[in-house]
């Protein structure tokens, strides 16, 4: 019964879906990309004014840290928002043709990831403008982005099959994203959080990734061994749990759509 897994086919389908979603998102143009950049950028400007002019937050590199945080959080929100709908929104396709369903989730997470990489180029330009010194620690951003991708993919895998059982999961997740924005050090640095609360904040998988991305790029905050272990463990945990849930549910998902 089982036909052999065709990896070349999986790759072709994955890249075709990702590329098409990317084209649709950015309308295949440079201007289209600018529009998608505008949304986080506008919020960034508003928050920057509020928190520096009115609240007088004055931590080093606040502007760059805020922008980096917003870009990473924006990726997480967009990717998980697309990931949760990745299977259910394509039910006509899923009900008729068999292919590994993971491709759908992976491509809806990968499209915003390409967007994030483009955004990071913009961040790089701003950092150069602000004369951010180049440091070898900046290379840490590469493994951190990998952790970010895997964590988001893991969470999306869980959500994409969960929403088939619980149809209002979309609304619940929207709420979680909104609360998460304030519960993650996006607009404030971890150093402003009282010591006793930091542990709880770190339970949020995005907090560690965000905080260490800032450490990598601007050198704010501190790298601790336990913190690094925590980020790695939470990445493995969410990605592993995602795979486990997904492959347990994959065969029956199509029957419940």
């Amino acid at each position: 019964m089982t036909q052999p897994i065709d990896y070349a086919y999986i790759w072709r389908l994955f890249s075709a879906l990702t590329w098409n979603e990317f084209k649709m998102r950015y309308y295949g143009s440079v201007l289209g990309y600018l529009w998608s950049l505008l949304k986080p950028l506008a919020l960034f400007v508003v928050l920057y004014i509020v928190f520096t002019v009115y609240m007088k937050i004055d931590t080093p590199y606040y502007k760059l840290n805020l922008l980096l945080g917003m870009m990473i959080w924006n990726f997480f929100a967009e990717a998980s928002g697309a990931g949760i709908l990745s299977i259910i929104s394509r039910y006509t396709l899923v009900r008729k043709i068999y292919f590994p369903r993971l491709i759908l989730v992976a491509s809806s997470v990968s499209t915003p990831f390409i967007g994030l990489l483009l955004n990071l180029l913009v961040f790089g330009a701003l950092a150069a403008w602000e004369q951010l010194p180049l440091r070898p620690e900046m290379f840490l951003i590469v493994p951190l982005l990998l952790c970010l991708y895997l964590t988001t993919l893991g969470i999306s895998m869980i959500l994409s099959v969960l929403i088939i059982q619980v149809r209002d999961m979309g609304a619940i997740w929207d709420l979680a994203i909104q609360i998460g924005f304030w519960g993650t050090p996006v607009i404030y640095p971890m150093s402003l959080v009282p010591e006793k609360w930091r542990f709880f904040l770190f339970l949020n998988p995005m907090a560690g990734i965000l905080e260490y991305s800032r450490f990598a790029m601007t050198g704010t905050g501190q790298l601790t061994l336990s913190g690094v272990c925590f980020v790695l463990c939470s990445t493995f945990f969410f990605f592993g749990l995602g795979l486990w849930v997904f492959f347990n549910r994959e065969p029956v998902v199509v029957e419940e759509l």
Binding site: M1, A16, M24, L93, Y98, V166, D168, M169
Partner: protein
């Protein structure tokens, strides 16, 4: 397994659990948490056994809800059969070809051709080579750069069909491809069936069109409520089928 067989199915059963009252939302789930989901069972395929020889054209008939599409979906690997069912397939099986699968209304005709053909298993190179032919076959030369949402349903079907026939597998599953389209389109389908037969492909066709069955099928299965009611030469089976 016998070498001359393309598909061998033994005692195939598929049951779906259908919650008698589906609880879709969080609130309903929480409120009814302790009750559990009461579930009914439906059984669209119930102990079906049959064989398809290599190069055979098998037709499947049956009323709506008799399990035809479920059977095809199981063969295509979309549904997993119940334990105890045995399916042996020799050779690559095509995805279940039904028209218009996976078209994306925001993409242009050209982009949809590439996406859809990729889904159906073609490589980039194969699509490049076949592209001219697809466009000619669908008669949409002037519309390939237009978004599919502006297509008429007939145009969509033509394009989907032109892409689908590019799939090349020794075993082809065709579901109700004749149900849409005018007589010209039907003739194109028939020409395609002829070609498949010449090439020695194994074909399973589900259709309500008895003319096509009489013309092409070597053998017909008649499904009734998930069981094979009768199987045999198209003439005999169709006679009893039409009389019921």
């Amino acid at each position: 397994m016998d070498d001359s067989l393309a598909i061998e199915v033994k005692n195939l059963t598929k049951t779906f659990r259908v919650p008698s009252e589906k609880r879709w939302t969080m609130r309903e789930r929480l409120l009814n948490f302790w009750k559990g989901n009461r579930q009914g069972v439906i059984c669209p395929i119930n102990g079906v056994s049959f064989e398809v020889r290599k190069g055979e054209f098998l037709g499947i008939v049956g009323r709506n809800g008799s399990g035809k599409s479920t059977l095809l979906r199981i063969l295509a690997g979309v549904y997993r059969p119940d334990a105890g069912s045995e399916i042996h397939i020799r050779g690559k099986i095509s995805p279940m070809l039904e028209l218009g699968v996976g078209f994306h209304s925001e993409l242009t005709g050209r982009e949809n051709v590439y996406l859809n053909a990729t889904i159906l298993g073609l490589t980039r190179k194969q699509i490049d080579d076949a592209y001219e032919e697809i466009v000619r076959f669908s008669e949409l030369e002037h519309f390939m750069e237009m978004q599919v949402k502006h297509y008429s349903s007939g145009m969509q079907v033509r394009l989907a069909f032109a892409v689908a026939i590019q799939v090349d597998a020794p075993i082809m599953l065709l579901d109700e491809v004749l149900a849409v389209g005018d007589f010209v389109f039907q003739e194109k389908c028939f020409a395609l069936f002829e070609k498949y037969k010449r090439e020695g492909k194994t074909i399973i066709l589900v259709t309500h069109d008895e003319q096509a069955m009489l013309r092409f099928a070597d053998r017909i299965l008649w499904l009734q409520e998930g069981r094979i009611s009768s199987a045999g030469s198209p003439k005999e089976v169709l006679q009893t089928y039409m009389q019921q």
